[in-house]
Amino acid sequence: MIVAIGAALLGAVSGTLGTYAVLRRQSLLGDAISHAALPGIAIAFLLTGSKTPLILVLGAAVAGWLGTLFILSIVRLTRIKYDSALGIILSTFFGFGLVLHTLIQRTGNANQAGLDTFLFGQAATILESDVLTIGILGGIAIVIMLVFWKELKLLVFDEGFAASLGLPIRALDILLTSLLVIAIVLGLQAVGAVLMSAMLVAPAVAARQWTDKLSVMMLLAAGFGALAGVGGTIISSSASRIPTGPTIVLCATVVVGFSIVLAPNRGLLWNRLRYQRNKRNLKMLGGQLFQSEEQ
């Protein structure tokens, strides 16, 4: 029960904040952040010897944030393109994280068991204290986002115009990225570094199919995220040793597939029907014109 609540909260938070990541075409930034967070967890553990979720989350957040900072700096200061910078930082940080985790395992520290859940996620390890962490930090992130609602919306829609109004776009950009970092590190334990980005992207992509309104899209994304979280948790805990991350992601994928095909207006099925109808109507019209010409 605790696990399901945790997964639902997590899905809701990452769905909400993932909406902006998708709209800014930064879906892959989430992937880089979650991979970059891994060494942070190991270092936090090495320094403190503790597995307190808050400490590990803090380590993950610092590392994820540093990774993002490196990516943005590389893009700004060199001629290396965004996707290359992303690739470099993602693999470097992730590799470093794997090395550290192996080292920790070699030391035979009895306390280390469980650190590797951060790779693929294990929702079963979610305790009441974790749910509290997710609820409080996720709640704070969402409140901050609501406070700066119109500024962030304008930043994402039209950065140049936002800057001309005097909005501090650099600061808002950092704020929005930091919120994304929070959402990601909260999900690492349950979903894992490898697949966390799907939790940001999938609910938002599915939500976009159903609505043309930002606030509705965010609510829907939160709902889809929570649904996938709960669904994945239940399935993975009913069978032993299925990692939760992949199961949650598969649930989210089902929602995305369903939305892409069936959503009104933007859905594939709808498009197909409209196309057929238009074709039929035009044919009838064409036929009439043809007849009237003959007469």
Binding site: L23, V147, K150, E151, F157, G160, S164
Partner: protein, 246 residues
């Protein structure tokens, strides 16, 4: 030398470089209040960069910009901006009225949500650009000309004194172009200063009363009758333009 009244825009020695090559080199521009000025020049002449530099969106390597004798930061509320239509994602989940209300965000300030007053201002602006029937239309379902008019309405609700517009005629049909020109001329009649990046040399004399010819350096600027000469155009376009003066 006569002591002149305050200039709406005063650009002095402006140089901007993105990489080593300068995009703008030592540009001066004085725009008196109440004129309708077009900036013309070939591709890569720095027209957009000049607009952005006036707005403080790109940092100049050297030079100075004043709006009514003060730096832009102090005069933001007096300036309205129409960016190029292609710079935003028109599939963003929002509608026409919402985009137009974004023009009030600067005046609203932090934490405050747009309310009834902003809605009314946005409606008035949409009526002026002939888009009042499209308030709840999702922006991805607009034509190019309609998108342009939405951006114009957003600038109108800024209630500015100086307007900077980056290619407002790009990709719009003849009817929309005429409607926009009429609107710009109305703004000028009200004493506003309007600066427009423009591409069509044939319409400069019809639409505008001032012109700036730009090709990295300022070739010339002033009233159209004196400035828009074949010699200046040849200098600007490097003799590649076959232009027939009327």
């Amino acid at each position: 030398m006569q002591a002149s009244e305050a200039k709406a825009i005063e650009v002095t020695d402006l140089t901007v470089a993105y990489q080593e090559q300068p995009v703008l080199w030592d540009v001066d521009l004085d725009v008196p209040p109440g004129v309708l000025l077009s900036i013309v020049g070939p591709n890569g002449a720095g027209k957009t960069t000049l607009i952005k530099a006036i707005l403080g969106l790109v940092r100049p390597a050297a030079g100075n910009v004043l709006i009514y004798d003060k730096p832009y930061e102090a005069q933001r509320r007096m300036v309205g901006y129409v960016p190029q239509r292609g710079t935003v994602d028109w599939d963003f989940p929002t509608n026409v009225l919402d985009v137009v209300m974004m023009g009030r965000y600067g005046a609203l300030g932090w934490m405050r949500r747009p309310g009834k007053q902003e809605r009314e201002l946005a409606m008035q602006a949409l009526e002026k650009v002939g888009m009042e029937a499209y308030t709840t239309r999702q922006i991805s379902q607009l034509s190019g000309g309609q998108q342009q008019r939405v951006f114009l309405a957003r600038a109108l609700v800024q209630d500015a004194t100086v307007y900077l517009m980056d290619e407002p005629f790009q990709g719009v049909d003849a009817t929309t172009e005429r409607a926009i020109v009429t609107l710009l001329q109305e703004l000028r009649e009200k004493g506003k200063t309007v600066v427009v990046v423009h591409h069509d040399l044939q319409t400069v004399t019809d639409y505008f009363d001032w012109v700036m010819l730009l090709n990295i350096r300022r070739i010339a600027s002033g009233p159209v009758a004196e400035t828009f000469t074949p010699e200046n155009l040849r200098t600007t376009y490097g003799g590649r333009v076959a232009f027939i003066t009327k």
